[in-house]
């Protein structure tokens, strides 16, 4: 095995304005995201050798949108990690030497579904405990983790709500600095704590919005990237771990951590040569589909000790001026969650932070940035951890 480290460069990225994009179709969003990435990389569509696109039945849309007759295009799906996994497969394609320049893109039109969350029809083939855990709304899954976390580490309901509210307030603040975020307004601690419940103990501000948007990355080998721009960003490590229903089938599963996150982070750190994430990471993007998701993720990726994340949240450790700023773009909470594209959107913020082009959100002296995505449900999460760093 050979680490992916320093063998793949990002030469351009783009995202759409995220929001209720009734005026734009799926193809329009793909075009918007890809156009920005192509402009960023200063290349033309004809320079692209292969494409990876997120979402079911999306394969043929990329060539159609970019007028790329006959380049190879693959479609990939990995629930809410789709965008990050499309990026991963594109990175392998570059590292394999088969292609010089590869595009990874995805767009989601979640609002068209007519639901504000994900419609969970349930899977009729599941039985017993598996059916009970699996067939529920997404907020309910994460409510289970919040409840168990509180119990397991002895936090009171008030302490938990305070912690989660601090995360929501932080992400809303960061969102005000991001012109592409769906929500660009501050909220107060009271707003968050007193919001209506969605799935106890999670309230309205603990849940992100499923929304429309697209994102795109253009990858190349470093020797190709060098000819294109000076400030390309390097992939340092990529880890992916997918569940095998343990969380749905095993009594031992403890609901205070996501084993998929831990395994993915371990792989990515191993490749990047990172031994002490707290000391070595400058910036982190976590998959905050729910505030409790971000809370548990701190511990899973090793930037907070087990059970201690609420203390760090209280100290402001993950805020813009804290030790490790997390979700500087506003996270899923404020930029929204266009499902297939979200992983690429997370990477987009990491890319700009490493490149030093994050504008008012720029964290000082960024070296390594971690972008995390988590798709699926209890027992079948697909977690991706990607670490980006500067060239040379």
């Amino acid at each position: 095995m050979e680490s992916i480290r320093d063998r793949v460069a990002i030469i351009g990225m783009g995202t759409t304005k995220v929001g209720e994009r009734w005026e734009a179709g799926h193809e329009d969003l793909l075009f918007e995201a890809c156009s920005e990435a192509l402009a960023d990389a200063k290349i033309e569509p004809r320079d692209i050798d292969a494409g990876y696109v997120g979402g079911v039945s999306a394969t043929q849309t990329l060539n159609r949108v970019l007028k790329l007759d006959y380049i190879p295009v693959s479609g990939m799906e990995n629930a809410c990690s789709t965008g990050a996994d499309v990026f991963r497969n594109a990175a392998f394609a570059v590292a394999s030497g088969m292609y010089d320049i590869v595009i990874a893109a995805a767009a989601g039109k979640q609002k068209d579904a007519g639901t504000t969350g994900i419609d969970m029809a349930g899977d009729p083939s599941t039985v017993g405990m598996e059916a009970m855990v699996h067939n529920g709304s997404v907020p309910r899954h994460f409510g289970l983790y919040a409840t168990r976390y509180m119990h397991h580490y002895g936090y009171t309901f008030e302490q938990l709500k305070y912690t989660l509210a601090r995360i929501a307030v932080k992400n809303h603040h960061n969102g005000t600095l991001n012109p592409k975020a769906h929500f660009q307004k501050e909220i107060t601690m009271e707003d968050a704590i007193n919001a209506p419940f969605i799935a106890w103990p999670l309230g309205l501000y603990d849940c992100c919005a499923n929304i429309d948007g697209g994102a795109c990355a253009i990858l190349a080998r470093p020797e190709v990237a060098r000819r294109i721009r000076d400030d390309y960003v390097l992939v340092k490590g990529i880890g992916l771990s997918s569940g095998w229903r343990e969380g749905r089938m095993s009594q031992k599963y403890n609901f205070t951590m996501f084993p998929e996150n831990v395994a993915a982070a371990e792989q990515a750190y191993g490749q990047a040569g990172i031994k002490d994430p707290v000391a070595e990471l400058s910036h982190v993007q976590l998959h905050d589909a729910f505030t409790v998701n971000e809370l548990v993720d701190y511990e899973d990726v090793g930037i907070a000790p087990r059970g201690k994340a609420p203390h760090l949240v209280k100290e402001g450790y993950f805020e813009m001026d804290g030790k490790i700023p997390v979700n500087t773009d506003g996270g899923l909470k404020c930029t929204g969650h266009p499902v297939p594209a979200t992983g690429l959107k997370q990477l987009n913020e990491s890319y700009h932070q490493v490149q030093g082009t994050a504008g008012p959100r720029q964290v000082k002296n960024v070296r390594y940035s971690l972008a995390h995505s988590q798709g699926g449900l209890t027992g079948s999460f697909s977690s991706l951890v990607t670490i980006l760093g500067p060239r040379d």
């Binding site: 095995m1 050979e2 992916i4 063998r7 179709g25 799926h26 193809e27 292969a50 494409g51 979402g55 079911v56 039945s57 999306a58 394969t59 043929q60 990329l62 060539n63 159609r64 970019l66 007028k67 790329l68 007759d69 006959y70 380049i71 190879p72 295009v73 693959s74 479609g75 990939m76 799906e77 990995n78 629930a79 990690s81 991963r88 497969n89 990175a91 392998f92 394609a93 570059v94 590292a95 394999s96 030497g97 088969m98 899977d123 990529i238 880890g239 992916l240 771990s241 997918s242 569940g243 095998w244 229903r245 084993p259 395994a263 798709g375 699926g376 449900l377 027992g379 079948s380 697909s382």
Partner: protein
């Protein structure tokens, strides 16, 4: 990538109306056979690519069925080429050096949908945003697409209807004879020429027996580097070439598109042959697995793959070139005509026959002294096909 990536074990389920089995059962049937053939355990698999068009990654179908623990799994979706594209993603990952041993697997249970063809509007529907010629062509059923090409082809090359019919009939009878010799085929009964010509018309000039049917099935392949394959000491095959091309809708929006050739297949084949160092495919390839969604699709593919000269496919078929004892035995497992169509597993199932042939395990279907096979898979519809062409061979 040429010569660096190996397939060290494959498994394949029996095709058919597998109402008594779940998708998990079919994955176990194919996956365990592949793992055993490779001489590994499921704990040795570091990552997987999973072809299936009917479930989300959410269901953890593959990791659960084969007890893959918390390893990486990506679901691949590329219409009818889904299984082949899962294989390609696995090849690419191994070639990149990211993993040593990975799995490509696919499953589909289309008969659960109650259709013998694709479910209406899915997965080929181009959606409500298609307009004009795009919508008209895009919304057709797959046999209609095939028939459009066939009609145009016969006209362009002045093939008389009877001669065209004879060639198509010969393909059906040959494939169904092969299926009868394949214990894993879905249809194991040979058909007579008169049964083909007298079966009901599907889309003129294609009869029902010219078209493949959606059947349930799964297939799996263990992919690794050639160095690892040598270490495992099992019979393996080597990926010599891999070409992919996806259409950008040209066939639906350009008047100049001529419907006598599928550009995606032609371009994918050029890429695969270039990688494999093949300059004369008709001479250098000894066996072909062609995506015969219909006999018309197979007929055109002979030319697009360079196995028959342009305009001469009918002649080559009638000459017996693609019969078991011919120049390039084709679809020796019975093809899709005998094995049915499973989007998630399609390309994998086709490769399975090449794997058996090249590891001398094809039994009574064995082609003597075979060195190299070409495997061709197509997904999508006119103008937006994705074609994958794999060239696989014996280790040097």
């Amino acid at each position: 990538m040429n010569g660096k990536v190996a397939i060290v074990g494959m498994g394949c389920s029996v095709a058919g109306v597998r109402s008594q089995c779940s998708q998990e059962d079919l994955l176990v049937e194919a996956g365990v056979a592949a793992i055993d053939a490779a001489g590994i355990t499921s704990a040795d698999i570091e990552a997987s690519w999973f072809g299936c068009t009917s479930v989300s990654a959410n269901h953890a179908l593959l990791n659960f069925s084969l007890k893959l623990g918390y390893t990486a799994m990506t679901k691949v979706s590329n219409a009818g080429a889904t299984g082949a594209d899962a294989l390609r993603a696995a090849y690419v990952a191994v070639a990149s050096g990211a993993y040593d041993i990975v799995l490509a697997a696919g499953v589909e249970k289309p008969t659960d949908g109650g259709y013998s063809d694709f479910a209406e509007g899915d997965p080929l529907s181009m959606g409500s945003s298609a307009v004009g010629a795009d919508a008209v062509v895009g919304e057709f059923r797959p046999p209609v697409h095939s028939a459009l090409y066939l009609t145009r082809y016969a006209n362009a090359f002045a093939v008389p209807p009877e001669r065209l019919r004879s060639a198509l009939t010969k393909l059906v009878t040959r494939s169904r004879r092969a299926g009868a010799r394949n214990p894993k085929a879905g249809f194991r009964t040979p058909v007579r020429e008169d049964e083909v010509t007298s079966s009901p018309l599907s889309v003129a000039p294609l009869t029902v027996l010219d078209c493949s049917q959606a059947l349930d099935g799964a297939a799996a392949a263990i992919v690794c580097s050639v160095a690892t394959a040598k270490r495992l000491r099992r019979r393996y095959i080597v990926v010599e070439g891999l070409g992919v091309a996806s259409g950008g809708l040209e066939g639906r929006v350009k008047q100049s598109y001529d419907y006598t050739s599928i550009p995606e297949t032609r371009i994918a084949a050029e890429r695969a042959y270039a990688m494999a160092g093949i300059t004369d495919p008709a001479q250098e390839i000894g066996h072909a697995q062609i995506f015969d969604l219909t006999t018309a699709a197979e007929l055109l593919a002979y030319e697009d793959l360079g196995l028959a000269p342009r305009g001469k496919a009918v002649e080559a078929v009638l000459n017996g070139d693609f019969e078991p004892e011919g120049r390039i035995p084709t679809n020796t497992d019975g093809g899709l005509l005998s094995n049915g169509y499973q989007a998630g597993a399609a390309g994998l199932r086709q490769l399975y026959e090449a794997y058996l042939q090249l590891t001398d395990r094809a039994g009574e279907r064995q082609i003597p002294d075979l060195r190299r096979s070409v495997v061709h898979t197509v997904g999508g519809a006119v103008g937006s096909f994705t074609a994958l062409v794999q060239v696989v061979g014996r280790p040097q």
